[in-house]
């Protein structure tokens, strides 16, 4: 491997930590902890410089938004403002314990309350919980709310409907909440097929889960008809907020008659992904579902902010404390910085950038759905596949040009899918460079397909054997 493991820096007796003197009497720990004592730990024995060099070397083997374009569809990899990081490191806001008295934390609680109000305004939802720690966690929380709501009404509803273009987390969350998942096919235009929906909607249906715009970037133009149909069947409609970057200031899930939804602060509101988290997935609901939200719920009484634990109909807790507060601080800083008008401008430019990329790429790559799209779009590598090169290979070739690849093979309704979302923070030069790289690759496929098939060539490791990794798992040193 390019950089050896930290354990391979070990030298017996080498240390890199410092602690103050113990000051108090030291008893015999081994004897005191008889039956519970261990002395067999094998952690690395390294110096501070060893640690710094090693993790610096690892960071150099990574690619972040600060390195360049990150066109992962549905992931909204926008720039992560540095000022937000500064805010999230103010000691007075962060060196606080979750069980300190509320009277000592009014500054932080006010920030969280402002964030709640802003999310409610953006979505036209009535009440917000900040407790879920990721998007999928928000989905699960929402579905438990749906479950509790129907239990409370003594209605037995067992089914959750999910379009075939939905994120994989949707059906997985529904299963975790104990529902049976019913998948419906999209129509030829990439939208919910109203007839297919009507066919599966019945008195057993608890909810429909929907992303709008959907994962093809297409706005469900019949949205009011869809929400009406679901409500007529006595079921609820859930909004997957992964694609909020497409509609801020233009449309609101609440106005589309969705009953509840989740947000992804780590997508729409610019907080960093950290290589796979932490994220934050607040849930917004209409008033009639507010009693079921997780406890505690942040409230304001006169001028005092407090956590309300007296919530007899609540689904309970989904997180040990109040959710990913550090992420919320960053999202709060973002909304403060860009303001209401800035959020709308964000959406406008996200949609403009995506449509520009689509316009420039659609000649050379198959565009399976001709419908107008918003912040993201899906191309198919089917023409290139006919020439013998797969979407995976195209993605790997992009890496050779120091650019991250789009989301591939998703949504499942498109063969050889490439799902592209540039976000608003990329400039035109970067977009043009991405287009030109894609065009170069499409030429390479015609002229020297082997070059693309064997990509990547210039990355620090070349194509890795995933089959062997799964067959003979090597999961630790």
């Amino acid at each position: 491997m390019e950089e050896k493991l930290i354990k391979d820096y070990s030298s017996p007796g080498r240390t890199g930590y410092s602690l103050p003197p113990l000051e108090v009497e030291k008893g015999n720990l081994e004897e005191n902890l008889k039956g519970y004592f261990r002395d067999d730990l094998e952690l690395p024995e390294v110096s501070e410089v060893d640690v710094v060099r090693h993790y610096t070397a690892l960071s150099e083997m990574n690619y972040g938004v600060d390195s360049g374009i990150y066109p992962l569809g549905s992931c909204t990899m926008k720039y992560n403002p540095k000022r937000n990081e500064r805010v999230a490191r103010i000691a007075g806001l962060t060196n606080i314990h979750p069980y300190q008295p509320e009277s000592q934390l009014q500054g932080s609680l006010e920030i969280l309350y402002q964030l709640k109000l802003d999310l409610a305004e953006i979505s036209a939802m009535d009440e917000i919980t900040l407790q879920p720690a990721s998007g999928a966690h928000g989905e699960f929380t929402s579905l438990m709310i749906v479950k509790k709501y129907f239990e409370d009404r003594e209605e037995k509803r067992t089914k959750v409907i999910v379009p075939d273009s939905a994120h994989g987390t949707n059906p997985a969350s529904a299963t975790m909440a104990g529902f049976d998942v019913v998948e419906i096919a999209s129509n030829k235009r990439g939208m919910v097929d109203l007839e297919a929906l009507a066919e599966v909607l019945d008195q057993d249906t608890a909810a429909l889960m929907l992303t709008n715009p959907n994962t093809l970037g297409i706005f469900e133009e019949d949205i009011l008809k869809i929400t009406e149909m679901v409500h007529d069947a006595g079921a609820l409609v859930y909004y997957d907020g992964a694609n909020m970057n497409a509609i801020m200031g233009y449309a609101k899930p609440g106005l589309m008659d969705f009953d509840l939804m989740h947000f992804n602060l780590h997508k729409t509101f610019s907080t960093p992904h950290g290589g796979g988290g932490p994220g934050s997935g607040p849930v917004g609901v209409k008033d009639f579902l507010a009693p079921y939200l997780p406890k505690p719920l942040l409230k304001k009484d006169e001028e005092k902010y407090y956590w309300d634990y007296q919530r007899p109909k609540s689904i309970g807790k989904v997180h040990s404390f109040y959710g990913n507060y550090g992420v919320m601080l960053r999202a709060w800083a973002y909304i403060k910085t860009v303001g209401g008008r800035g959020l709308k401008k964000t959406t406008e430019n996200a949609v403009l950038n995506a449509n520009y990329l689509k316009a420039r790429l659609k000649e050379n790559f198959e565009l399976p759905y001709a419908e107008e799209s918003l912040h993201e779009f899906v191309l198919s590598g089917s023409r290139q596949k006919e020439e013998g090169v797969s979407t995976l290979q195209i993605a790997k070739r992009l890496l050779d040009y120091d650019q991250y690849a789009p989301t591939i093979y998703f949504p499942l309704v498109v063969k050889e899918a490439m799902m592209i979302e540039p976000t608003e923070t990329e400039n035109i030069e970067t977009l043009d460079h991405f287009v030109e790289t894609m065009l170069i690759i499409s030429r390479e496929i015609k002229e020297d397909p082997e070059l693309v098939k064997n990509a990547p060539h210039s990355t620090i490791v070349r194509k890795l054997d995933e089959t062997a990794a799964a067959r003979n798992p090597d999961l630790h040193w």
């Binding site: 990574n62 606080i96 979750p98 104990g178 040990s320 404390f321 950038n353 054997d465 798992p473 040193w477």
Partner: protein
Amino acid sequence: MDYISNTAAEKNKMLKEIGVEAVEDLFQMIPEAVTAADDLNIKPGISELELMRTAQLQAKKNKSLDEQLSFLGAGAYDHYVPGIIDALISRSEFYTAYTPYQAELSQGTLEAIYEYQSMICDLTGMGIANASMLDGGSAAAEAVTMAARISRNSKVLLPDTVNPAYREVIKTYGAGQDLEFIDLESTQTALDPAQIEANIDDQTAVVVLQYPNFYGSLEKMEEISKIIKKSKKTLMLVIANPILLGVLKAPADFGADIVVGEAQNLGSGLNYGGPNLGFMACRDERKMLRQLPGRIVGKTTDVEGKEGFVLTLQTREQHIRREKATSNICTNEALNALMATIYLSTMGREGLKEVGEHCYHKAHYLAEKIDNLSAFEVSNRNNFFNEFVLKTEKDNRKLIEELLAAEIIVGYNLEAVGKEGILVSVTEKRTKAEMDKLVEKMEVL
């Protein structure tokens, strides 16, 4: 202030390429009925200078732990965070990266997660660890549902010596799977193994234990383990405090099948309870691995035989298996896992052991002094590690208020969870002078 580069001229160029007149034209498909009529009712944006000023003002309305003496624990622990951690995780190649889908451009994140998994295996003594869970509570909850799938049973023994917040999260997740919970009420600060014996049977999926438990006490792990092992299908789930595993015997050595916990104390700091770091490990068996939720990183080779790392065993996960996945987990706590990895590397085997020793000896110093005061006693004085239950005839709330006035948070009032006493936690950060100050104040109250 926004973060957009496009100028008016560039926008026009792009609109022309797209073939529309104005940006608004790109939103024509949105029906008027769902369009926001007015602009968002959110104040105009502000400069960085104003933002920092506003944030500092909010901080001033708080009273942080820097401004007082704290003995609060109860699931979130105030351990020292070495400066090296923030310096390294602030490298933007780490923190601005996505989940490592394109392995060839993500070897840094992947190798660090592999190291994290290795260190979690070392601490817990288990054979497999995943790439992280959202927090301790949700890790415990997903471990319970995992155990139910493996044992094909639905009965869960849930002692009240397990963190009450975790118990609530476990029950929320359990409600999704129709699990049946048997609450074991303890009269002391540790379980009586006979309670397990009396309630365990062939239908029991899992017994949940916390180590040390919510009150800081050490359960009779060996004895309890023997009882659990007599029930063939029942799994033993241990919620462990990872920072203490430098001196406390690995849960695997007591026969644990799954080990989870909260690793916020390994370098993440407090942050008002999040982002925290759930960890999860299990025995090295295929049937366990198949049911394990979350991302897993594995080592493999590239086409030229060079070693590298990938996300592996993804057929368990939601993006492939959809409704049949082992969990919906997608985003986890990767950056916090990196913090823990750097923390454990920096401390090393000696450092982690020494932190554990400091916590133990300091807590025992304080407990003894308090126990010697006539009005107070430590109810688990013979059986705790670094967190103990303080009991008094005095009004607990009044005591807490009076100490607060002296700028001391003495601990967590167990009244909040229907129990008696105050839970006091001591980490390596507390000095002898600070502990003496607490005792002095208590003496005169």
